[in-house]
Symmetry: C2
Subunit: 293 residues, 2 copies
């Protein structure tokens, strides 16, 4: 029974992660508000639970792949999943949270006698489906060592980034800072190119193979040149994630001028009605700003 894994949050990333654990022979009890996701997990050989607390009942591990810290709190505390777990269970928080929130949740979990791993992931849906996520785990050494075999089943790039809760969230926050700034910088660059009458595709070819390149420039650049590309990750995701960067900066009393400027552009894009558009479309805010819309 203590080998049972409770998995809460069966979204675009959580569902394939949970299925992978099932496929590896683990007993997985899942919960999500979406009945379709639950049915899909059941079909794959998992258990569809009626609530987070039911999934957690007596389980030795609880994986939280929810959207944010507030959902994690709702599951653990209001939803009583924490109290339902085995007395020596481990809670693994994989949602993207501000470092201070991951630390606070860790302290509350520890107060109940359970272990806690602050363990955000990156790599998106593709990484979740292929088991190639990057996992940035912060926990005391012994806790990390105990959970390592399980984490390696969902991600092939596992890092123990520190012993203090919040440090995993900090790495993810820094990751998102760079991703968000690089997308906005690419949009700023293309907008300057449009104003100069340059061919966007040629510009991308020159810049994408130079010292000016970024992973985001090469990945989002082609979609920036399309007027209505398919959405792989929305503008509003960066409103959220650069919001977490801003929150982390505020909590640490730090000035983060580039992240702050990039956030304004994603906010402006969202405010103009493009929140659900692909995040490359932050370029629409730049075009509006500069009379190119």
């Amino acid at each position: 029974m203590s080998g049972t894994i409770a998995f809460v949050g069966l979204g675009a990333m959580g569902l394939p992660m949970a299925k992978r654990l099932v496929a590896n022979g683990n007993t997985v009890r899942g919960f999500d508000l979406n009945p379709k996701a639950l049915a899909s997990l059941k079909q794959a050989g998992g258990v569809a639970s009626e609530s987070a607390a039911a999934a957690a009942e007596g389980a030795g591990t609880l994986l939280l792949m929810v959207v944010n810290a507030s959902q994690a709190r709702a599951v653990l505390f209001e939803g009583k999943a924490l109290a339902a777990l085995a007395p020596k269970a481990t809670v693994v928080l994989m949602a993207t949270c501000a470092p201070a929130e991951a630390l606070a949740i860790g302290e509350e979990v520890a107060a109940s006698g359970r272990s806690f791993v602050d363990s955000p992931v990156s790599g998106g849906v593709v990484g979740a489906e292929s088991g190639t996520l990057t996992i940035m785990a912060a926990a005391p050494k012994s806790t990390f060592a105990a959970i390592e075999p399980l984490l390696k089943q969902v991600g092939d790039k596992l890092f123990h980034v520190g012993e203090r809760w919040g440090q995993g969230a900090a790495v993810k926050t820094i990751n998102q800072l760079l991703c968000g700034v690089h997308i906005a910088a690419a949009a700023e660059a293309f907008t300057l190119g449009e104003k100069a009458g340059l061919d966007g595709k040629l510009l991308l070819q020159i810049l994408g193979n130079s010292a000016a390149a970024s992973w985001m420039l090469n990945n989002r650049g082609p979609r920036m040149l399309q007027s209505d590309p398919q959405s792989t990750s929305a503008v509003d995701i960066f409103v959220k994630d650069l919001g977490i960067v801003a929150e982390a900066g505020k909590a640490s009393r730090m000035g983060l001028p580039l992240a702050a400027a990039a956030l304004q552009m994603f906010l402006a894009a969202s405010g103009a009605g493009h929140g659900k558009a692909d995040d490359s479309q932050v370029i629409r805010a730049y075009r509006a700003l500069n009379g190119l819309a």
Copy 2:
């Protein structure tokens, strides 16, 4: 005689470029204020001229690899190199200039009956020495076609980016916008990591292989973690180049919020006495800003 190439500006990049042209069998007459550079060109088989005008006398091509537009003007107009050229000569401006300056110089050169190519380069000293520079040339089609064989001798990535002077400078400006913002973003990211007590090398390992990566993160990141690294390109180069970005934005009446924020950090680093330090040391401005100095 009209096959003679005048080459003005024999600095860290200009000298190896001029030597390469000599090695390829061209007649090259060089000029620089630095007598050592002149002597080095002469030793390689070039001609050491006494002035820019002497180098240009009757030549069919003038390559300008000077520091900025103001030096280019000094050579061409005050120094009378333009008037000394063959009547149908071509002037190739390879310095990093603001687009409006490249356009203005092009118009003055054209008024004298000569052809003009706005043709900045990127790839640094390494690219200049190995003949692997990226060249972003703007000129009317026929002018470009005529100069193409010569440009291919100094760069293996030659792009005809547009027919209007200033468009080459615009591509280079956009390139520098991304380079400068990416360096500053990496410094912002590492500073947040330091505040969170994270190991910088581990952070670089995680981020450098993720969607958060940039060419600059992987190239400058390791030097950002050193307290006094060897300088490959100075903080003040980005004070200049992001200054050109700001000038281009002003001339086009454009808001470029990320470039503007990055420039402030390079300016602050320079103001704190780090102008000659490696550009990775813009991180010192971030540390000072955030109480980590």
